[in-house]
Amino acid sequence: MSGIDTNPTSDFAAGAATEAPTITLTLKEQLPVPLEAEVISPDVIAGLRHDAIRALPVYLGKRLRRLDDFFDVEGGIGDQIDIRGDAAKVKWIGRGMTRGRIRVSGNVGMHLGAYMKGGAIEVSGSASDWVGAEMRGGLIHIHGNAGGQVGAAYRGSLSGMNEGTILIDGSAGLEVGMRMRRGLIAVRGPVRDFAGLQMKGGTIFLCSGAEIRTGAWMVRGTIVSFTPIRLLPTFTFACTYSPTFLRLYARHLTTLGFALPREIENGVYQRYTGDTSVPGKGEILVWQPHTP
């Protein structure tokens, strides 16, 4: 298991958030079609003057436009970005970012934090598909729901997220953690099919379980579910135990503002290994309360 980020600078809960100069991007109006705005990243914006930021290129559909065609740009220059308004159609925010912080007050579109290597992103609303796809480090915290393919590998790629942490307070869609190699994904709400598909390492916490085919073709890695889930017949029961590392994880997640349910301390985990159809050495841990 891996994914414990001991670097407090990537931790919202550590709190360095608010005092630093922040550039604020306020969406002017609802977008008719998706806007590709990978320039909204601290790596691009930090150090630019307002007029340069306003002139940054974005694509509305296939048309090249300026950032200020869609956003009002205000605030101090720094590597923190606040986005205000419903950015549900704004794609690629924080793509490949290595530092700084992005805070979205509202929803956000597809590919949030894809390929990111460091820094932190916080979204107060919901995010669409491919959150943190193929990320290599950093922290993403979605307070609403997320779409599918969280931390996943893009189609054809060998591996998905390879470090970093993704926290989702709401639900998530299909193929969460597909082909992830390292890192941590924790989802408080329900998750749909194929969580941990072809997983190669890392850890997924499912606080409210998942639908079908969880861990299909997983080779390594750990999926922890705090509610009973349907398992594929290619997973074999190994033992019932109470691993110490989960307590460390619980403590770590608490520092990130993502507390696990308290009652899990009063239970044990059934360990299933698989997916034997690959064959794989992954594990699915299913929590169950202590039986009196």
């Binding site: 893009y154 189609r155 054809g156 790629s157 060998l158």
Partner: protein
Amino acid sequence: MLRITGGRVYDPANGVDGQVKDVCIANGRIVADVEGGRTLDANGMVVLPGGVDIHTHVAGGALNFARGMTPENQRTATPFFHTSERRAGLGGPTPTTFATGYLYAGMGYTTVMEAAVPILTAKHTHEELRDTPIVDKACFLLMANNEIVLDLLEAGDKERAKQVVAWLIWAAKTFGVKAVNPGGVAAWKWGKDAKGLSTPVEGYNKVTPAAIIAGLAEIVDELGLPHPLHLHCNNLGAPGNVATTLETMKLLEGRRAHLAHLQFHAYGGDDWHTMRSEAARLAEYFNTQPNLTTDAGAILFGNAVTITADGPWQHLLYQLTGRKWGNLDIENETGCGIVPYTYKGSNLVNAVQWAVGLELLLLINDPWRVFLTTDHPNGACFWRYPEIIHLLMNAGYRKECVNKLPPKAQKRIVLADLDRQYTLSEIAIITSAGPARALGLPNKGHLGVGADADVAIYNKNPDGVLLFRYPRYVIKSGEIVVEEGDIRKVIDGREFISRPTFDERIEDYLRPLFQQYYTMSFDNYPVELERIERPEVRACP
């Protein structure tokens, strides 16, 4: 009209080795002199004939399959944005059609040979080649596993086999004949391979890989095709395959043949753990066989996509790597396998492969018989040729690279002992003059009067990589297509097609076979000449 003045000209086919002289161009040809027109000042630059790639995979069903199979490569590929001159496209290991033309031209190459075309998908290949701008091109037809041809060889009816081969070449509108793993791809349809040259091919009683190779080489010579049999030997990639390659060379004594991507056929050892370079042994024998030419098929470390008609090898590679695998069956004719691959310097086998390609280029004495290729995209992308040129021209840099290989690998190669450094003239031979001569293209690969005005002009720079990566000017058919490293004008290239003589009555033999065995009707099978935009048909005697 154009005059290139003041440049050092390297035109080995005409014995010009770095002399300062003018090169004059009119009506798309090199001429003795011109009056008026534009003058290009090439003072301080070197002037070479445009490059000729004798073996590459840039168009067709298999390559398109590979493009579709590797979206991960497209995401990181160099984008070509639409401009007033250029169409949009992507580079990467399997560039899109338009980008392929731009990338070749952007390196100074003006002629490319698509090395593996099944007749059934020839229309697709020609459509893609039409969309590959600037460069002239031609195709080799896959033949060594064609079941009609194999049946005729089994029956000992060589004369009819010759007629069928001639008809098929013209039907597919191709330039030459390619043999891939003779008999092995046909055997793969039963899950087998053809490892031994004298063992009958699965499904046949008499016909062996040796009989196919000898038979096709003889047919190609009798038909008078400009390029000899283009042969991908049996046992590609396998440790110890040098024995098969040497046996194949002996089999071809007295006949013309071109051995494709020799690097993949020059290994010793008994398994992957003991694999070693046998380039020295192979080169020693090759040097004594003037009837043969070859291309290096060198590899470079990094991402590649292996695409070959050699289906059984690709299945093995898939099992070795656990990567994605594509397998195509081209009914009655051939097959195809596709596996993305990453060559790593830290990998013992890959390190040996890297050295073998360079060793062959350095140990084969006659640069007119060994040519620069990477079997694109199998060994590396064609747009990385400048890196190989740098390694060939700079022994010190080469040794530095050898020192970075795993110590185990260093003991299994001889590259560190080779001090030879290619001269610019030799580079001009292995990239242009030599392949043009081996292909039988008299107007390519030189700057003599009457030659096609395909010229590459580079800044004189001791660094081979920079020299060939950014040509100052590239002239194709007399037009300046690249200037200051950028595409300035896009023109259409021609397609070279061979027209061997055959008895039209061979169709009476083929038609019922088609009705019985093919899913395509006979009348829809041949590629119409009108489908090819700028054909240049060459009648064979």
